[in-house]
Structure formats: structure tokens, C-alpha cells
């Protein structure tokens, strides 16, 4: 079955090519079938491949499909080979599965849009690039996918390009992630220079052999890769692009900025975990950055008015959780949360999209309301996935994945990280409940004028169900002790760990206490929000919060302003000042010289005959004078 690995990224890319070349000439139905169908087909192949992989795991737990070499330059050889191991299997299933559902949803969501085929072409390209990223066996191919998803993110954020604000948001996303991408590239070059290869498996074997734990080069390389991950996954300090990326269509926000692209950073760190284990300071930084980000984004989410911006900050926050997990070396926990987050966040975004579509593209939470009775399917799936986000105990997938992260943090002795994550759970509960209350409860704000059709409802339902039952693959010992996921992923994270993983699970007693605390946090957050934001208190929106504080939170703690003052303005000022630099001066000098010569020359053309006559006579005088001089010189010479 691994022979068909190539088909998984190929099918969406083929869809892209077809739609890019002929999309305008095809009917909407054809475009929808090609666009969603290609990803659907890829999902089917992925399922089949995964099934055969799980049923009969290949030797060394990895199936490699060797594809032709891409290039070989100065000792660096990159090839198109794909490698399927447990981690890649999980990622691949998430990408194709959730991707297909979102594409199906898009066929109805974007039905009225004039650029229907362009949308699906971009989405297909994105899914193809993401699959390349996930299945790549060497870093160069991974970088290809990485850049591809970055490009598609830009194209899709700025999809409605006729509004310049969307273009600005797309550029902002691209530029900020570029910073990370540049660091990633430098890191890759560093790895190649020192270790001689960019094949991931080779790297993971050579690195521990070449570098002792904590060596400078390892730290630098890991930091550079981390910077790349920070950019793509919108963590501090490169998180400013994600809220603005909500300018794109909602399916885009669901697919790219919730379920898949932003998880690429998490995937990268998980993939190159050996390298990070060789650099403990960097690993610690990963955790700290994750913790800070999740708290900061949590506060910001509470103060947002736009329904999608709440979800954007929520995504940043949840990615922070994954980073915390990575930071303590709990790789499987991070991937588990990545998976459940993909389910419930995509469901939330698609639900928000259904609301937006039904309410004439209204995004403002203060104008929406009371949609509970009007849009029941949307409401219930939204509640289910919101509950998962908040981590409602026992019945949601989010609870299990978050709890695992908290438990692992505690187990590794990172008590500060645990505390931050715990506060984060409270905040998550607050903003999630606020979101649900403002949009669906209370008096009807805007009457919805359309009911979602089947193609919107089915993905919502599927994802909603997954948000509930998706966590049942990994249960802590105190609740059943099922380790299907982490067991499956273990070979990907095996290998001589320089840093000892958490050996056994904590004693059941500690575990129950931790779970109780987690449950308390989530339920407590929900209760607080109910207290503050329930419809009966319509008059007090954010009670007891000074305007300054609210503005600070709403603007994401002012990062945009800081960046603008510290970086953008000086740079543009420098650029403007440099517009007339030396080289320009040289060119302009030539022009000025020529113009000057022209002016002077044309000044001699007075049109006055006497002037010309005078010129001739003066010329004759000079010529005769010269003749006289020459004659004198010659005569003198001759005389001697």
C-alpha cells in the first residue's frame, strides 16, 4: 500500500492544475467535484494506506516510497521521496479528513462567489502542499511544502482581493511568517553544513552522535527551527498575523488557520524532536513561549467583538498548549491535542461561517444573538465543539487532550507551565462560553435569512461528533487507561532519548487530583462567563473592566503597535530616505547634466542672424589666430 503514497499529495495537486488551467470554463458542479473530490479521493487513499499501515506495520515502522531525486548540488541531495510513519499517518489523516469536510462545506458556502473555481484551485494546492509537508522524508521537500502552504495562505487570505484591506492582511501574514521561514532556512543550512544531510531520519541519527547535549551548535540550530515554527504557528512574538488573517473566507480560516497550516510548526518540532532534545534551553523556551502565548491569547479572546477573531485568538492559545506539551517532551500529547483541536476548532469555524452566511455576513457578536432557536443544527454542533474547546470534563475530546498535557507538564516537574496552562483552561472556558452566549442566546439580533443546507450541516455534524468522541483514543489510567494513540505514535518518538521521557504514569491518586483541578478550571470558567455574559445581563457586556484594559486585551496586548513603532516605521522611513540614494543621485546627475547641456546648447539658437554672423566671425578670428600661433612655432623651429 505504501506504493500509493505518492497519490495522496498528487491528487489534490492534480486538482489544482486542472482547476487552474480550465476552472473558469467548467461548470460549478464540475469544479466542486474536482475540487472536493480530489481531496476526498486522497482521503480515501490515505485511509486505506493508514489501515494497511496499522494492520501490518512495515519493518522499522516506516514505509518509504522512494521517488526520483530532485536535485544534487554540492553534496546536498534532495529527493521527492515520501515517508510514512505513525506521526505522518496521524497528520495525513487529519489533513485529508478535515480537509475534505471543509471542502465539502465550501461547495455550499462559496456557492454565490464569482471566483468559485479559483477558490477551489487554491484550496487544492494548499492541501497538496500540506500533504507534501507532512509526508516529506527530507527537510528540503518539507520546506517546499512549508513554502507552498505559506503561499496558499497568502492567496487565500487575500482571496477577495478587490478590497485592499484583505491584501494588507495577506501581506502581513506572509511577511511575518517569512521571518520564521528565513530562520528555518538558515537552520536547515546550518544542519546541512554540520551534519552533511537533510534527510530527516539521517539527521536524527547523526545529530546525537555529533553534538553533545546542550552544545552551542545544536542550540543555535534548534532555535532557528523554533523560530520557523513560531512564525507558522503564530506564537509569541510572531503571532500578530493570525487575527488579521480572518479577512479570508471562513473555510480558509477553518482549514488553514485552525486545523492544518498553523499546526505545521508543531509538526516540525515533533519531527525533529531529537534535535530539540539536544538543546534543553531551546526546549525550555518552547514551553515558556507556549505558556505565555496561551495566557496572552486567552485574555485577548475575551475582549473580541468579531466572532472569527475570538476563534483566531483561541487558536493561538490552543497552539500554545501544544507548544507547552512539546516543551516538556510530551510529543504524543501535543499531537493528540493537535488532532482534537483540528476537530473542534474546524467545527467552530464552520459553525461561525454558517452563522455569518445566514446573517448577511455579520461578524459583530454584539449585533448577533438568539440564534439558538433559529439555527438548531448549527447551534448544537457549535455547543458540542465549544464544550470540547473549553474542555468540559469526560464528555469532550478536548478534555482528554488538555488533561494529558496538564498531567505531563506536572509529571515533568514543570509546575509553572502547569499553572499557566491551568489558568489558560479557565480563560478558555470564559471566552468560549461568552462566544456561545452572545451568538446564540438572548434576543435575536439579526434574523437569519437562509438555513444551512446539507453540505454545510453534514461536515458540522461529523466534526461535532468527532469533537465529542475523538478523545477516546487516549484515556489516562484513572479513567480506563487506553493508550491507543500514544502507543501508535511511540515508534515515531522512539530512539535514544538524551532526555529521559516521563517513565511511568503518575500514581492514580495524583492523577485524579489533577483531573479534578482541570475539570474545576474548565467548569469554573464556564460558570464565570455565564455569570457575566448571560442574556439577562445584556446591559453589562464586560463588567467591571476599565476601558484601557479592555483595549489592551482586544488589541492582543498591543503587539501590532509595538511592531509598527519599532520596526515598520523606522524601516519605511529609512526606505523613503533611501529613495534618493547615491546611485539614484548618479543617474539623476547624468540626466541633469544632459538637460543642462541641452539648455545651454539650445540657448545658442537664438534665431537672430546677427548672432550667428558674430559667431562665424569670432570663429574665423580664433582660427586665424591659431594659424598664426602655429606658424610662429613652425617658423621658429625652422629658423633654428
Amino acid at each position: 500500500m505504501s506504493d500509493l503514497l505518492w497519490a495522496i499529495p498528487f491528487l489534490p495537486l492534480l486538482g489544482f492544475v486542472v482547476l487552474a488551467l480550465a476552472g473558469r470554463r467548467l461548470s460549478r458542479r464540475a469544479v466542486a467535484w474536482i475540487g472536493a473530490g480530489s481531496v476526498g479521493l486522497a482521503a480515501v487513499v490515505a485511509l486505506a494506506t493508514a489501515a494497511s499501515f496499522i494492520a501490518s506495520p512495515p519493518p522499522s515502522d516506516a514505509a518509504v516510497q522512494a521517488l526520483p531525486s530532485w536535485f544534487e548540488v554540492a553534496g546536498l541531495s534532495a529527493s521527492f521521496s515520501l515517508r510514512l510513519d505513525p506521526l505522518a499517518t496521524v497528520m495525513m489523516l487529519v489533513v485529508t479528513g478535515v480537509g475534505f469536510l471543509i471542502l465539502l462545506y465550501s461547495t455550499e458556502f462559496m456557492a454565490d462567489d464569482a471566483d468559485f473555481s479559483r477558490f477551489f484551485a487554491y484550496l487544492d494546492l494548499f492541501v497538496g502542499a500540506m500533504l507534501v509537508l507532512v509526508l516529506a522524508s527530507d527537510l528540503v521537500l518539507l520546506l517546499l511544502g512549508w513554502e507552498g502552504v505559506g503561499l496558499c495562505s497568502y492567496l487565500l487570505i487575500g482571496f477577495w482581493y478587490r478590497d485592499p484591506a484583505n491584501g494588507r492582511a495577506a501581506r502581513k501574514a506572509f511577511v511575518v511568517t517569512r521571518i520564521g521561514d528565513a530562520a528555518l532556512l538558515v537552520g536547515m543550512l546550518l544542519l546541512f553544513t554540520h551534519l552533511g544531510t537533510l534527510d530527516i531520519q539521517e539527521l536524527m541519527t547523526r545529530a546525537p552522535a555529533a553534538w553533545p547535549v546542550g552544545s552551542g551548535t545544536a542550540v543555535i540550530a534548534a532555535s532557528l527551527l523554533l523560530a520557523g515554527a513560531l512564525g507558522k504557528s503564530a506564537q509569541l512574538p510572531l503571532q500578530t498575523w493570525l487575527p488579521d488573517a480572518m479577512a479570508g473566507p471562513t473555510p480558509v480560516s477553518a482549514l488553514i488557520h485552525a486545523a492544518t497550516m498553523v499546526t505545521a510548526g508543531v509538526y516540525l518540532i515533533a519531527r525533529t524532536h531529537t534535535l530539540f532534545e539536544l538543546a534543553p534551553p531551546v526546549l525550555a523556551a518552547v514551553g515558556i513561549i507556549g505558556a505565555l502565548t496561551l495566557i496572552l491569547a486567552g485574555f485577548a479572546a475575551i475582549a473580541q467583538r468579531d466572532i472569527k477573531r475570538v476563534l483566531a485568538y483561541s487558536t493561538i492559545s490552543q497552539l500554545g498548549y501544544m507548544f507547552v506539551a512539546l516543551g516538556v517532551g510530551a510529543w504524543s500529547a501535543a499531537i493528540f491535542h493537535l488532532m482534537t483541536h483540528a476537530f473542534f476548532k474546524a467545527a467552530l469555524f464552520l459553525g461561525a461561517g454558517a452563522v455569518i452566511l445566514a446573517c448577511q455576513h455579520e461578524h459583530d457578536l454584539y449585533r448577533l444573538g438568539g440564534l439558538r432557536k433559529r439555527m438548531p443544527v448549527t447551534f448544537w454542533t457549535f455547543v458540542a465543539s465549544a464544550a470540547a474547546l473549553a474542555g468540559v470534563p469526560l464528555v469532550t475530546a478536548g478534555f482528554y487532550s488538555k488533561d494529558l498535557i496538564l498531567a505531563d507538564a506536572w509529571q515533568h516537574g514543570a509546575y509553572w507551565l502547569w499553572g499557566a496552562a491551568w489558568i489558560g483552561v479557565v480563560l478558555t472556558g470564559i471566552y468560549t462560553t461568552r462566544l456561545v452566549l452572545l451568538a446564540f442566546f438572548g434576543d435575536v439580533g439579526i434574523e437569519p435569512d437562509r438555513r444551512p443546507g446539507a453540505r454545510i450541516a453534514v461536515p458540522l455534524i461529523v466534526l461535532g461528533v468527532l469533537s465529542v468522541i475523538g478523545g477516546l483514543v487516549e484515556l489516562p489510567a484513572s479513567l480506563g487507561g487506553l493508550h491507543a494513540l500514544s502507543g501508535f505514535l511511540a515508534p515515531s518518538f522512539a530512539g535514544p532519548p538524551p532526555v529521559a521521557q516521563a517513565a511511568a504514569e503518575p500514581p492514580v491518586g495524583t492523577e485524579l487530583v489533577l483531573e479534578g483541578l482541570a475539570a474545576l478550571a474548565s467548569l469554573g470558567g464556564i460558570a464565570l462567563a455565564w455569570l457575566w455574559f448571560s442574556p439577562s445581563r445584556h446591559s453589562q457586556r464586560t463588567p467591571r473592566l476599565p476601558a484601557r484594559v479592555r483595549e489592551l486585551w482586544a488589541s492582543g496586548f498591543g503587539f501590532d503597535r509595538v511592531y509598527e513603532l519599532a520596526i515598520t516605521r523606522p524601516f519605511t522611513a529609512l526606505g523613503i530616505r533611501n529613495r534618493n540614494d547615491v546611485v539614484d543621485g548618479l543617474v539623476r546627475g547624468v540626466v541633469a547634466l544632459v538637460r543642462f547641456g541641452h539648455r545651454e546648447a539650445s540657448a545658442t539658437q537664438t534665431g537672430r542672424l546677427r548672432g550667428y554672423a558674430a559667431g562665424v566671425v569670432v570663429g574665423a578670428v580664433v582660427a586665424v589666430g591659431l594659424a598664426a600661433v602655429v606658424f610662429v612655432l613652425v617658423a621658429n623651429k625652422g629658423a633654428v
Partner: protein, 102 residues
């Protein structure tokens, strides 16, 4: 025959030529400018004749004939231009015909 020193004749020619130059520069009237040119041509012809007399050869007079022919042609065309000038601008002031500037 006479024995006028050559340089005396040539100096006479130079004097006449200089007078023609001054006339050309100082006058605004187109006809006067043509007259000045005639004076200069005449002076040049005198110089040629003097040189021919010095060597006793007809070449000097031949050159003078050519100068004469050229002067005739030039005067014809020049006067036609003066007539044109007069028709266009109503005057023979050369300063009035200064439209081809720049």
C-alpha cells in the same frame, strides 16, 4: 609694369575684408549684410589676383572668375530671400525673422 610689393596688395585686401566683416556685424538690414558679403568677396578676389600677378600665371584670374560666378549666384538667391523676408515680415530687419529659436 608696376612693381607693387605683394604684401602691400595683400594688406589692402585684408583691410577691405576687415571692413566687410565690420559691416556684416554692425548692420541689421539684410541688404546691407549682403553688401558686406560682396565687399568681402571682392577683397578675396583681389588677393587672388595679386597672387596670380606675383607668379605671372592665369590661375589667379581663374580663381577670380570662379569667385565672381559664386558671388553672382549667391546674390541672386540672397536677394530672392530678401524679397521673401520682406513679404513675410513686412521689413528687411533680420532681427524680425528670429522665429527659429530654441
Amino acid at each position: 609694369m608696376s612693381s607693387v610689393p605683394l604684401e602691400h596688395v595683400l594688406v589692402l585686401a585684408a583691410l577691405l575684408f576687415a571692413l566687410g566683416v565690420v559691416a556684416l556685424l554692425v548692420r541689421r538690414n539684410a541688404v546691407f549684410m549682403l553688401l558686406a558679403i560682396e565687399i568681402m568677396l571682392n577683397a578675396a578676389g583681389l588677393a587672388f589676383i595679386a597672387a596670380g600677378a606675383r607668379w605671372g600665371q592665369p590661375a589667379g584670374q581663374v580663381m577670380f572668375v570662379f569667385i565672381l560666378a559664386m558671388a553672382a549666384a549667391e546674390v541672386a538667391v540672397g536677394l530672392a530671400l530678401v524679397i521673401r523676408l520682406r513679404r513675410l515680415f513686412g521689413t528687411v530687419d533680420t532681427d524680425a525673422a528670429g522665429e527659429m529659436k530654441g
